[in-house]
Amino acid sequence: MGKKARLPSVTKRMDDESDAKKFQFVFYCDCCGQGYRSAPIRFSVAGTSDHIENFTAAQKLIYEAEYEDAYERGNRNALITFKPCEVCRRRVCEDCTDGQEFDHICSDCRAKQ
């Protein structure tokens, strides 16, 4: 395919906590807003500098590539953590569905019913 593409996050709200040393993302439940922080992934060629602006050209290229991979990896972990509600198809956490495996319906939809 050649060109790499960054997909939108699985949840509506996502915070990027990545810095010059590590990649980390926080995903929030679409129903209650509870957060899930993905496991930090270390930047493989992180030097002593704490700012991305001070990186060399090669470091910047590697940073971009590793950022893409870490972002997709975090999204896939969020994919398993937040499962789609059967009614509204939003990504919701386990607390919102009362841990029910088969009637996977969020608390908002249950209240409407």
């Binding site: 395919m1 050649g2 060109k3 790499k4 593409a5 960054r6 997909l7 939108p8 699985v10 997709e72 999204n75 896939r76 994919l79 398993i80 789609p84 198809r89 990504r91």
Partner: protein, 161 residues
Amino acid sequence: MVRFFQRGKEVITTFKSCTKRYADESDEAAFRFVFYCDQCASEFRPPPIPFGGAGKEQWTAEHGSAFARADYEAGYYFYSCPACGEHVCADCIENIRRDGEAVRSVCRKCYRANDGNRVRPHLQMIWGAEASRPLEAVRKTTGKVRKGGQSRWAKKHGSQV
């Protein structure tokens, strides 16, 4: 399967999904995929992934990534039968309960064929050698076991496969 034109030539893209059959219902607004259970063909539709960009090139690039993400989710939704390797839905799973043994979940087809003891060679480490069928029987059904006796790895580590 998606057909589109690139530099005047028709290009067809197909992906390898975890299930045998899948359908691609993507359009300009969102990427939608449907995965079907290998045995009862019940469908699983992951939530659509919206496409916010513009242009054919970006759509094509994101299409592959979107499929990879959807396929990953389908891999978690469907259960891979340890005996035959097919990806089946929750309705097609049967449990084998025997005294003194852990409960084993296999697909309905293997359960009816009484093939619950069959274990694919690369999974034998998990369930132990005594739970598996005799090696000769396994060799007849799969091509993954080496014909010339034990592999170099098996000789070194003392495994039966």
